[in-house]
């Protein structure tokens, strides 16, 4: 059998050599290079076949035979791969000059491959039953990572996949592959099994053990076409397998279907992430904001109410500082100011109390309002992610405050506080948010603003209810018992200045005199 195989391989080599010479003669330079690689593969095959082991017991062992088939197939697959590429490129160029020779080479190489499959165990008969898919469906392109220790195999696949519109990354073994998927946005991995440093099984295990990577589809490149290897890989989470040599149609089909599944999974993951984020937002509101609102409503001490309102608002977004304004006619009066960084730097929170006098809400001649004045006048949330932005806003007071306290305000948000009737009764201004997980300075994100807006609504209600109750208490305290003295005297005299009343009074006097000890009767 070895002699037959050697002969078949020599015929392939001769055909390739002949074609290369013709290509050189006809100036088809692009083909000459690929035919050169095919010749190298044919030489490698020849060397392997010449050194085929004797029929020793050792050589008959299934594992040894599997290894032998793998080694022999590698150059054969390369010859087939380049041959198919050349056929396709010639078709693209509508160049029919090489058709016959390329078809002959392909057929002869297939015969060699069939002979290799006859060594030892029979192949499992995996066939390329695929639809007439010639190109991946539109939109189904992505980045494919080819992991193979054989340079020629990598290059072959890279070129083939590149022709099909995929971006291709390559890795020579598992470790390189793991590094590549962590540093690049890979959509599909084509993974060889037998490799140095880290083989395909381990690489597959590591990919599937990583929560970030386990969703990445892996197609095993199985030159070992025993069902056992395939089963082993599928059990470990491989998406699919591709028998070598690659049938271009099968290759595209399997990558295409893996990509499709990955895209569906990615979409599901995005939906899931959105649902999780929405649920978190709802939970934040339910468990974070509402209890604060209830606590604020129950607070009977106004000073504590103001302190707490500002403190809770800052805590909800990790804001370094903030101001609470209450509206009085056309002015915003600052009632609270807190700034963690300045207080801890100076050790004296009272320093802040001299700052930020009340603010006029009238629109200045240049039309530029301060952020809080805009929030109050327009009843909108004003958000500044970067203080160098803020076109159309007057930030002079913020900058002056920063200069006085050696402070840097990076981001800012101002929210209107409304009464139940929708009237703006105050403004909550916060600056320099921080991330809950690590305390890093971040701009106010939409989640924070959502929470703050809910908190502002509850705070507005609490302030309004307090204000009403205070007003009621004030009225009671000054229980205005207003008596119109003129009217009272008039009403009294209308009653008392009558004969009936005078008689009544006389009668009552007599009655009482008679009832007293010593009186009449």
């Amino acid at each position: 059998m070895n002699a037959g195989l050697l002969h078949a391989a020599q015929r392939v080599r001769a055909a390739v050599e002949a074609l290369r010479r013709r290509a050189e003669a006809e100036g088809a330079d692009s083909m000459v290079s690929d035919l050169g690689k095919m010749l190298l593969a044919a030489d490698a095959l020849h060397v392997l076949l010449e050194r085929l082991p004797e029929r020793s017991a050792e050589a008959q062992a299934p594992e040894a035979q599997r290894k032998l088939r793998h080694d022999l197939r590698t150059p054969v697959n390369q010859i087939l791969g380049y041959c198919e590429l050349l056929v396709e490129e010639a078709e693209d160029d509508e160049d029919t000059r090489w058709d016959d020779e390329l078809r002959d080479i392909h057929e002869q190489t297939q015969e060699v491959l069939a002979a290799i499959d006859q060594i030892g165990v029979k192949p499992s008969g995996i066939s390329a039953e695929v639809s007439a898919l010639t190109r991946p469906p539109p939109g189904l392109v992505g980045t494919v990572l080819v992991v193979d220790d054989n340079h020629s195999n990598r290059e072959l696949l890279e070129r083939r996949l590149g022709r099909d519109g995929f971006s291709v990354l390559t890795a020579a073994h598992g470790l390189e592959a793991l590094s590549a998927v962590r540093s690049h946005d890979v959509d599909v991995v084509l993974l060889d099994i037998m490799m140095p440093v880290m083989d395909g099984y381990e690489t597959l295990d590591r990919l599937k053990a990583d929560p970030e990577l386990r969703h990445l589809p892996v197609i095993m490149l199985t030159s070992l076409d025993e069902s056992e290897s395939i089963t082993r890989c599928i059990e470990r989470g491989a998406e699919d397998h591709l028998p070598k040599p690659f049938d271009p149609v099968l290759l595209r089909a399997r990558i295409g279907s893996s990509l499709e599944r990955k895209q569906i999974r990615d979409r599901e993951r995005r939906y899931l992430a959105r649902i999780v984020a929405e649920k978190k937002r709802a939970d934040d509101l339910l468990h974070g904001v509402i209890p604060i609102g209830v606590a604020l409503s129950a607070e009977r001490d106004f000073d504590r109410l103001l302190d707490r309102l500002l403190r809770e608002a800052r805590r909800s977004c990790g804001a370094d500082g903030g101001v609470l304004f209450l509206r009085k006619d056309e002015r915003l009066e600052r009632v609270r100011l807190q700034c963690e960084s300045i207080s801890s730097a100076t050790g004296d929170p009272r320093l802040l109390e001299v700052d930020l006098p009340s603010m006029d809400l009238a629109v200045p001649s240049d039309g530029r309002l301060r952020p809080s004045a805009k929030a109050a006048r327009q009843g909108v949330t004003v958000q500044l992610d970067d203080l160098d932005g803020g076109e159309g806003l007057d930030l002079s007071a913020v900058k002056a405050f920063d200069a006085r306290h050696h402070h840097v305000t990076r981001s800012l948000v101002a929210l209107p506080l409304r009464s139940a009737e929708g009237e703006v009764i105050g403004v909550l201004e916060l600056w320099n948010a921080s991330r809950a997980t690590d305390g890093a300075a971040v701009p106010f994100d939409s989640g924070m603003v959502d929470v703050l807006e809910s908190l502002s609504r509850l705070a507005g209600a609490a302030l309004e209810s307090y204000r009403r109750e205070t007003e009621l208490r004030r009225r009671i305290r000054h229980l205005e018992i207003r008596i119109d003295e003129v009217n009272r005297r008039r009403e009294v005299s209308q009653i008392t200045e009558t004969d009936y009343f005078r008689n009544l009074r006389d009668m009552a006097q007599k009655l009482r005199a008679s009832a007293e000890p010593g009186g009449e009767g």
Binding site: I476, I481, R488, V492, M507
Partner: protein, 252 residues
């Protein structure tokens, strides 16, 4: 020596009848013989609190005023209807609940001086310790008479502007009639009010003793209208306030 206590308010709906019924019950619980006369002939109502059914009322105050009967014939012993046994007695002299009788009062009036005689006769015939007069709101002739002959005038007011003015007039008129003791009861006070503060301000405004500041509660009012608070809910804050008011009256 029997005493006449008139319970008056400038406006209706201040809780006058309720206060009167509870005072009567408290005094009876202290062993007194108490008469309660409903002189609110135009809109009688106190009989409900004493569970006196109109069908049981044969003679009423109206019959006495028109010379149809003696006043003691219009007195009903309601001592067993107070919700709890008492050592003393409570007699109720109701106004007629018949609409014809009410209309006749409105049209023809009556000889007010007869009322005075009736009060004295009641005290005498029923051997009363205290006669409570549940007056008609405002200051008409029979109300003025009740006030004139009273030893104590209890003025029920609500803490609102209309009552402030009217109470001012009533207090002044009562002083002019030399009523020996005038007491104010601030009723239906919102719970958000500081009751002590209310007491001080009202006392200062009218230069008059404030006997009780009673809170407003819709629930309590609903319960109270169905009977006498003092015996129905003796442990309630309201019952405690009525006892305090009764003690003040006993001390005078």
């Amino acid at each position: 020596m029997a005493r006449i206590i008139s319970v008056h308010s400038f406006r209706g709906g201040t809780g006058k009848s309720n206060t009167t019924a509870n005072i009567a019950t408290y005094l009876a619980s202290k062993g007194q013989r108490v008469g309660v006369i409903d002189t609110d002939i135009q809109s009688p109502g106190i009989h409900v609190l004493f569970a006196l059914d109109p069908s049981e009322v044969d003679k009423a105050l109206n019959d006495f005023l028109w010379g149809r009967c003696r006043i003691e014939e219009a007195a009903y012993d309601v001592s067993s209807r107070l919700g709890a046994p008492v050592d003393g007695k409570v007699f109720l002299i109701p106004s007629s609940l018949r609409t014809g009788e009410i209309t006749r009062v409105l049209r023809d009036g009556y000889d007010v001086s007869l009322l005075h005689e009736g009060l004295q006769a009641l005290i005498r015939e029923l051997s009363l310790d205290t006669l409570l007069v549940d007056t008609h709101p405002g200051l008409n002739e029979e109300t003025l008479l009740s006030i004139a002959v009273s030893d104590v005038l209890v003025i029920i007011m609500r803490p609102d502007q209309q009552d402030y003015q009217g109470t001012g007039v009533t207090v002044e008129v009562a002083r002019s009639l030399e009523v020996p003791r005038i007491m104010l009861v601030v009723n239906k006070t919102p719970s958000s009010f500081d009751h002590e503060d209310v007491e001080q301000r009202v006392a200062a405004t009218y230069a008059c003793e404030v006997a009780a500041v009673i809170p407003h509660s819709d629930d309590l009012m609903a319960l109270a209208s169905a009977g006498i608070m003092l015996t129905r809910f003796p442990r309630s804050d309201l019952a405690a306030l009525y006892r305090k008011l009764g003690d003040r009256l006993l001390r005078s």
